[in-house]
Symmetry: C2
Subunit: 218 residues, 2 copies
Amino acid sequence: METAEATAAERPGLRERKKQRTHDALLRAALELFTTQGYEATTVDEIAEAVDVSQRTFFRYFAGKEEAALAVIGLSQEHFVAALRARPAHEAPLEALRNAVLEGWDAIGEAVARIVPVDLYLRSYGMIESTPALLAAHLRRTDEVAREIEEIVAEREGLDVRTDPRPRVAVAVFAGVMRVTERLWAMGGDLSMEAMRELTAAHLDAVRPSLAEKWRNG
Amino acid sequence: METAEATAAERPGLRERKKQRTHDALLRAALELFTTQGYEATTVDEIAEAVDVSQRTFFRYFAGKEEAALAVIGLSQEHFVAALRARPAHEAPLEALRNAVLEGWDAIGEAVARIVPVDLYLRSYGMIESTPALLAAHLRRTDEVAREIEEIVAEREGLDVRTDPRPRVAVAVFAGVMRVTERLWAMGGDLSMEAMRELTAAHLDAVRPSLAEKWRNG
DNA sequence: AGGCTAGTGACAGCCACTGACAGTTGACAA
DNA sequence: TTGTCAACTGTCAGTGGCTGTCACTAGCCT
């Protein structure tokens, strides 16, 4: 058992490679079909047929249509969490969150490119935003990520999430701002990582001013 | 046409009343079944049968199972939006949002009670939080409400949402905090409106401290 | 009273998803 | 190499959410 996994990590057997190929092929086919003809207009049968496997096999790789559509973005979210964990301990919570998201972008692009064309990845954000069922699933997943981040932030500061509200509130604020940013970016014209970085920075900078009592003179 | 609607508003005809009754009956039956045996374990056929209508009729009243489950909460969200619109113009944006949510609670309770037992309404929050598909749909609806609120806040301050980021960011911060609050409340033991009010106030008060550079001495 | 139309039930069908079973194909040891 | 085991897959049948269609009933209006 141990040997099998260790070996697989070094040089995956034929079985593993085949599996990986099928998985990636399904992912690419799904995203390709979704972004061209639309998510709802695409049936699982079509995706399976495009990769020449049975529908049943598709469901062995993905829990459902949604998961296939959101898998790549899920990957980028994992990278963000990892980036946050890697931030130096001296940074303030929101500083660490900000840096993790701003600097993590490039590494994410690379990681994604290993599986699907980056272009497909970027377009999937637009697809999500304009597909109710998908947006719903995406928001739920993001909510789960937020929960994970709460723990990380609390640990960074040596606090207990159950007794001190600040870790949760800080993450909530950050998550809220990231959600608007994401929405505007995905719906806007410029679907590039540069645009995302700028929007993110601008919105995070706007947090304090938006909390002010008076907006006119602020 | 005009006459028909006006008349219906004053004294609904038999037809209208019948419709209303069926609608409410379906809603009650659905929530009752959902909260007792679970959302997924309940089929639309069951709900329809409980009210003694065909499955087809259920779908004529609700776009889907989800909508039936979230309809009551949607009602409370509408009340919140109305409460926000009613806030005096001199209040600062976040002040108005805070007051709207804290004071609107009672009116919401009354409005809900006219259709379903309040107890059922409160329990539905727990159901949502523990049902992935439902939570997803709920988050999407909440996101839409946030969009509506952005406009209201911007209008209060005489700003254009497209040029000034503050309305959107302020609402994003507020929405983020409300989401954590909701989650903790729904998952916690005390499912009362009092508990919700306290949690909300506590979390909103924690926003500034959570933005501080240093948490230890803050 | 009789015509109009909103609301309903019954039926057929699509699609996402699941369980069960059998066939095939890599992995690994004898 | 060969045989055995386990993993992976295809096929089939079935459930449940959801939609289109059509005929029929019942409230509404003149």
